[in-house]
């Protein structure tokens, strides 16, 4: 997978544990990503796709309805 070629890209410097780095480099060695950076971007994309503010707040409002009016 190529990093988003036509998008404006940001540069962020991060520190992360050796253990995560080891796992990431295994994926690169196995051909899942061309570079560790690609793996980090993919992990971030996957995390953000499941954690939007809209989704979280929708779930909380559904929870309020259940909490107040549920039958169980």
């Amino acid at each position: 997978m190529d990093l988003c070629q036509n998008e404006i890209m940001k540069t962020v410097t991060i520190q992360y544990p050796d253990q995560l780095d080891e796992q990431l480099r295994k994926l690169v060695s196995a051909g899942w990503f061309k570079t560790p950076e690609e793996g980090v971007v993919e992990a971030l994309r996957r995390y953000l796709s499941g954690h939007s503010v809209e989704l979280q707040e929708k779930q909380i409002l559904e929870d309020v309805e259940w909490g107040l009016h549920g039958r169980d």
Binding site: A43, R46, Y47, S49, G50, H51, S52, V53, L55, Q56, E57, Q59, I60, D63, V64, W66, G67, L68, H69, G70, D72
Partner: protein
Amino acid sequence: MAATEIVAVLDAGPLIHLDELGRLNLLNDFKELLVPQTVLDEALKHRPGLELGGLENLEIISEPPPLPADLLKLADELALHAGERAALAVLKARGGQFLLSDDAAARMVARAVGFQTHGTIGLILRARRRGKVSKAEMLQLLRQLPTRTTLHLRKELLDSILATAAAENI
């Protein structure tokens, strides 16, 4: 009111947040409460003094089964953590009904395969509905979320929830 017939599986969020509020006992209102060891380990990282002795219906699952293929695909796509994966695996294997989680992605996966999911706020409101806390206690717990817990919530949303809960005849 007797504990319901519901078998619930806990993810780390409600365990951490209810402990932060000093109200883990709200989790006693289920027939069975299953906690994978991986989830417990994660909760203990955040709450080293976590004490589960008051949970009468608790069962710690030391070796969760593998995640079935349908769940594994979704879990991979949404990059779920080990604890969330273990909770979903236990839910499926033990025929549970509820995943108790504050993680949006884990809840999305659980719902996609037919489970109900609820989080800390729902559990607090349910406790009032089922007569386990007074209305004043319920409102107090909700008000304490931003100051006593690590559950992140937009102020306007919490204000709206407080207004809704206060207006309810419960």
